[in-house]
Symmetry: C2
Subunit: 219 residues, 2 copies
């Protein structure tokens, strides 16, 4: 992945600064992607697990069972949460300059377990709404047992950075004469027809919030 730009939200450590996207673009990447990859350390080994996330302002939340090893290792620890959207395959004339178009937000920081009940409920709402805007109103809310079985962890977006590659391949000048097709194969995540659960007592129509593509404000 070459020709990337790494850019700060407010402050960046460790990641070289090579451009200047605002926080708006970082938020947009985090909001558009359905999942992220969470990195944490256990016994000196880095682990990377996929998980669902949600954002409220300058905080990103992730959650899981209170028995989850990833969650228990993350709370109070330095973690890295990376959100990547793949936009296309970049085919250059030379093997060397092949690449991908993508947008990737990386959030570093000390994860904080959310213990305040009000914040926890808002975070759970953000997580469900992130996956499916409008769903929180439709679904049954968590009861006390479910609420206490769920561990919610917060990570500040203060130390977030963005890496973006877009546009055509960048080839060596001498290679432009080669008779090799060059360009981009754009990729997109699309939804297929909703599959209703066979256990539904009444065959309800698929709700509007499953329509694809998602409303523009989400993108």
């Amino acid at each position: 992945m070459e020709r990337g730009e790494v850019t700060p939200r407010t402050a960046v450590r460790r990641v070289p600064e090579r451009g200047s996207h605002g926080p708006g673009l970082i938020d947009a990447v985090i909001d558009e992607a359905f999942i992220c990859h969470l990195g944490f350390i256990e016994d000196g080994i880095p682990f990377v697990v996929p998980t669902i996330h949600g954002r409220l302002g300058d905080t990103v939340y992730f959650h899981g069972s209170s028995a989850s090893r990833a969650l228990r290792r993350s709370r109070g620890a330095e973690v890295c949460l990376t959100v990547t959207i793949l936009d296309g395959l970049v085919l250059a004339r030379s093997a060397f300059h092949h690449s991908m178009n993508y947008r990737s937000a990386m959030v570093l920081g000390r994860a904080r377990e959310v213990t305040d009940a009000e914040e926890k409920l808002r975070a759970l709402q953000a997580l469900v709404e992130h996956v499916c805007p409008g769903r929180w109103e439709a679904a049954r809310r968590p009861n006390l047992r479910e609420f206490s079985k769920t561990l919610v962890v917060a990570l500040s977006l203060e130390e977030a950075s963005l890496k973006v590659r877009s546009g055509p391949p960048v080839d060596e000048d001498a290679d432009h004469d080669l008779d090799v097709w060059a360009g981009v194969l754009p990729l997109e995540m699309v939804a297929q027809t909703p599959v209703p659960d066979e256990l539904m007592k009444r065959q309800l129509p698929a709700p509007d919030y499953l329509k694809w593509p998602r409303p523009i404000e989400r993108l």
Copy 2:
């Protein structure tokens, strides 16, 4: 992400064993996904970066500039390479049981810099062919300068595990009476029309290997 199954390829540490998929399925997930997320440690902090990968037998390769921090930190170190394919949104009747359908392969181990020229060339071929089968034959091969500027790192699949969630939502029995639509919204990565590079001297037709969906053997 609930109701997941974690399964060994040959041996699994640290990841609870809860099912039994063979190596074939792990290989298939690694081959189908275009990118992975690489976890490494620097100064006690876990970092997670997206990168391209390729597989040859029981080895997965990733690469980058020899100046790449992620690559330089990874070689000789314990890393985690996670490959995730998102298959759908799982909408349960309760907020609590919402989930995703996905397949995620996690590879743990000590990364090895590839110094043997022959293995390095085969790895670069695998990386290009992984992104676009047939492309290695078409593109200009790396020259000596490009070859030596590229760092290739290998990771054995010996310690790989798979986590899979598939199928409908799993709700509490009492919730089945609720008038809430439940089911799965399947998601799929699709290619759009190839975008030719404007700098192509002759307008070559888009090659066959850009056709979508990809031939079945890749999936």
